[in-house]
């Protein structure tokens, strides 16, 4: 289907079904129950899942395929956000032109930065991208305040021209981002018994875009171009000896992944129309590296998985506090309860970064292929168990 082989089609369909049913799947616990805090099915978080999924998919096209570790990718996300908000300010609140301009702008920036940074490889490339991103962050924060809004960030105002739309709604409010009248923030709530499912327009919009980007990423992975990028990762020298110049291919990969980042930035701005420089800080670039590695660099589904895990932890684990912990372990004797809570407490709430860091280290040490490799190992272990029963059913492991 759509030029994909059977395995990829299945993967795409699974991802499509999962994202479309996310409001159900992420809300498995009824409202008001003790487990309700683990529900991730609220629009804000679901939007973040898919948006950062897009960001990580794009980063993976560069890092997973070519092996170039960029430490400044958040800069393109920031450029995308700023471009989108400017579109909202000047043109109209329709999200499509905003997204288009954001992708173009971030593509241009990626072309410029990539052209310079890709003259070097290895850690020098990482430092160059980091330097560019930090420079853009510092400038956005200080000198470019007229364009970027500086510390307060770029916000919409009632006095914005919005030549194709209205400056203000009939009630005198700032209009909200919409897709041809379909407001991004509008949601339908569906209550089934104790469960409450929220269907948010913005989420579904982002989800559809993520599916399209995911499809494009699969096509890139399977294309001759993707093959070239893998060749660059495995041995650039050999590629040059074959008479091929790797530079245009790496630059193309860099620009594509920059455009993905810009798209993610535009979607962030579409969901909540403001943009701040802190989105470009190097910790934000580090975050997308974490997501990609955690999920599995160079695999298709890995980055999306990593983005989901990290955003889930950021929003859910960080909300657990000591009272909740005491509630969970109330069945233990008093002294033991306090002891268990005292042990777990540093890892939750504000300490979720500690859990993240430990998890990340464990993944890098024991599972260099990320969570996807973990899944594959488990699957292989099961398959091996079956193989012992029926030795003739030996299957070859598909190369990922």
């Amino acid at each position: 289907m759509l030029g994909l082989d059977k395995k990829d089609t299945t993967l795409l369909l699974i991802v499509a079904v999962l994202t479309m049913c996310a409001p159900f799947l992420l809300n498995p616990f009824p409202e008001g129950s003790g487990m309700a805090q683990f529900n991730a099915g609220y629009p804000d978080l679901m939007q973040r899942f898919v948006i950062f999924g897009i960001f990580a998919i794009g980063f993976n096209i560069l890092f997973g395929l070519t092996g170039y570790l960029s430490f400044g990718h958040a800069a393109f996300l920031g450029v995308g956000s700023y471009a989108a908000v400017w579109m909202f300010k000047l043109l109209s609140m329709n999200v499509l032109p905003a997204i288009v301009l954001a992708v173009i702008m971030s593509g241009l920036f990626a072309m410029l930065i990539g052209f310079i940074s890709l003259r070097r490889s290895g850690i020098y490339f990482s430092i160059l991208t980091l330097a560019f991103a930090q420079m853009m962050f510092a400038l956005a924060y200080s000198v470019l305040t007229p364009i970027t809004g500086g510390e307060t960030g770029l916000q919409l105002a009632l006095s914005d021209p919005r030549i194709l739309g209205a400056s203000a709604t009939a009630e005198g409010n700032i209009p909200v981002p919409a897709l041809f009248g379909l407001e991004m923030r509008s949601s339908t709530v569906w209550e089934v018994g104790a469960w409450k499912f929220t269907f948010n327009t913005g989420y579904y919009f982002c989800a559809v875009i993520m599916l399209v980007s995911f499809f494009l990423a699969i096509r890139i992975f399977r294309s001759p171009f993707g093959m070239m990028l893998r060749a660059i990762k495995s041995n650039q020298q050999r590629l040059r000896y074959t008479g091929l110049n790797p530079k245009p291919y790496t630059l193309a990969a860099f620009v594509i992944s920059g455009m993905y980042a810009g798209l993610a930035g535009a979607l962030m701005a579409s969901m909540d129309p403001l943009a701040g420089a802190e989105r470009m800080f190097w910790t934000a670039s580090g975050e997308v590296v974490l997501m990609t590695i955690l999920g599995g660099a160079g695999t298709l589904i890995g980055p999306v998985l990593g983005a989901g895990v990290i955003k889930y932890m950021e929003n859910i684990v960080s909300k657990i506090n000591s009272d909740i912990l005491h509630g969970w372990f109330a069945f233990l004797p008093d002294g033991l309860e306090d002891f268990v809570v005292a042990i777990i407490y540093p890892f939750i709430g504000k300490g979720w970064h500690l859990t993240l860091g430990l998890m990340f280290m464990l993944v890098v040490i024991f599972l260099p292929g990320g969570l996807v490799e973990g899944g594959q190992r488990i699957a292989r272990a099961f398959r091996r168990g079956k193989k012992n029963e029926a030795p003739k059913a030996a299957s070859t492991e598909p190369a990922e």
Binding site: G67, L69, I116, R119, R120, S121, G122, I123, Y124, S126, I127, L128, L130, A131, F132, Q134, M135, A138, L139, Y141, S142, V143, L144, W282, T283, G286, V289, I293, P346, K350, G351, H353, L354, L356, G357, L358, F360, M361, V364, I365, P368
Partner: protein, 343 residues
């Protein structure tokens, strides 16, 4: 002229910190071939060694002051540090006052222990892995270390003063023949610079003039041959890792009075230190030190009012700008060797 000297002086203390961290990074990279993203965390742990020692010294118990009462009529109590009981009031106060310099002695064994544990416990297993994996695992370690510190010390900066003798500033201009009050320079920054110079000199002397240092340098040049000569080079490299950790830690200890430490100071310095290392040339010790001071001074020049008026925002980006220009014109940095980290 006086403005220029002032800016050079201002740049020296930050440059010293960059140079010390970059020196440690380069030591680790040159000996073990590992890119250590947790080096900023070592700097921060050093700073918190100073904080811890100062808190330990200030541990106190309440003593009733005879003959005085507070406004409720209860006997007035005052805190007396245990050190006063042990050493008497005058010596005790002096020790508390000098807690930051004394923390050097406290930090050296701790930092060497932390470094050796880190190398033996984690980094040892990453020699054969790609550089990207080393970067990532040490990045994870840095997050973990920083969160542990945050858990115990909180997220706010903790002011820890310098000894009274070094508080305040002095008129450097008057000493070298300028008009009075043109070049005012804080004492502690001068102390920091001298301290950094001593440490850097000591590290170089250690590598240059001792047998141990000679073997280490030989190992940096050709690890295999040194191993074939029957020398246990791994053990020496582990010690070098401990030494590099100690250098970073000491840089952190002495930096405490300049900037109150918080848990993410390591990361803030790490990014810049990496830029410094790359500008100096990966694997070159003199390059790292020179680039550290160079970038520190450039940064301080760029924050002069006249320069900012000329090129707005230059103070924010100068280091990165210089890094980009140097990397593009001198691909291996200022003093880099051929074939380092170019895979």
């Amino acid at each position: 002229m006086d403005a220029i000297i002032l800016q050079i002086l201002n740049g020296l203390d930050k440059g010293s910190a960059y140079a010390l961290i970059a020196l440690g990074l380069t030591l680790i990279f040159g000996t073990l071939g590992v890119v250590n993203f947790a080096h900023g965390a070592l700097f921060m742990i050093g700073a918190f060694c100073a904080v811890t020692l100062s808190r330990l010294f200030n541990l106190s118990h309440e003593v009733e002051v005879p003959g005085q009462t507070d406004f409720l009529g209860n006997p007035l109590k005052k805190d007396v540090p245990y050190l006063h009981d042990i050493f008497g009031e005058a010596t005790g106060s002096a020790i508390i006052d000098w807690s930051v310099p004394l923390a050097i002695l406290f930090a050296i064994p701790i930092m060497i222990a932390v470094g050796v544990i880190m190398e033996r416990g984690l980094i040892k297993y990453f020699y054969k892995r790609p550089h990207a994996d080393q970067i990532l695992v040490t990045f994870g370690l840095a997050i973990v270390l920083q969160e542990i510190i945050k858990y115990y010390y909180g997220a706010n900066p903790i002011p820890t003063p310098a000894p009274d003798a070094f508080k305040g500033s002095f008129d450097f201009g008057a000493m070298i023949g300028f008009a009075e009050n043109t070049i005012i320079y804080p004492y502690w920054r001068l102390v920091y610079f001298c301290f950094a110079a001593v440490i850097i000199g000591a590290v170089f002397a250690f590598l240059q003039f001792t047998t141990f240092g000679m073997v280490v340098r030989a190992g940096m040049a050709d690890r295999e041959t040194v191993g074939l000569l029957g020398i246990n080079i791994d053990k020496r490299f582990t010690i070098m890792f401990g030494l590099a950790a100690a250098v970073a830690g000491l840089a952190g200890v002495m930096y405490v009075p300049i900037n109150p430490p918080n848990y993410h100071m390591g990361m803030d310095f790490l990014v810049l230190s990496f830029v410094v290392v790359v500008v100096g040339g990966m694997g070159s010790l003199p390059g790292a030190v020179a680039a550290g001071f160079l970038l520190g001074v450039l940064e301080s020049f760029a924050s002069m009012r006249e320069v900012i008026d000329l090129i707005p925002g230059i103070n924010q980006v100068i280091i990165y700008l210089v890094a980009i220009i140097i990397l593009l014109t001198r691909p291996r940095g200022l003093m880099g060797r051929k074939g380092v980290m170019e895979d």
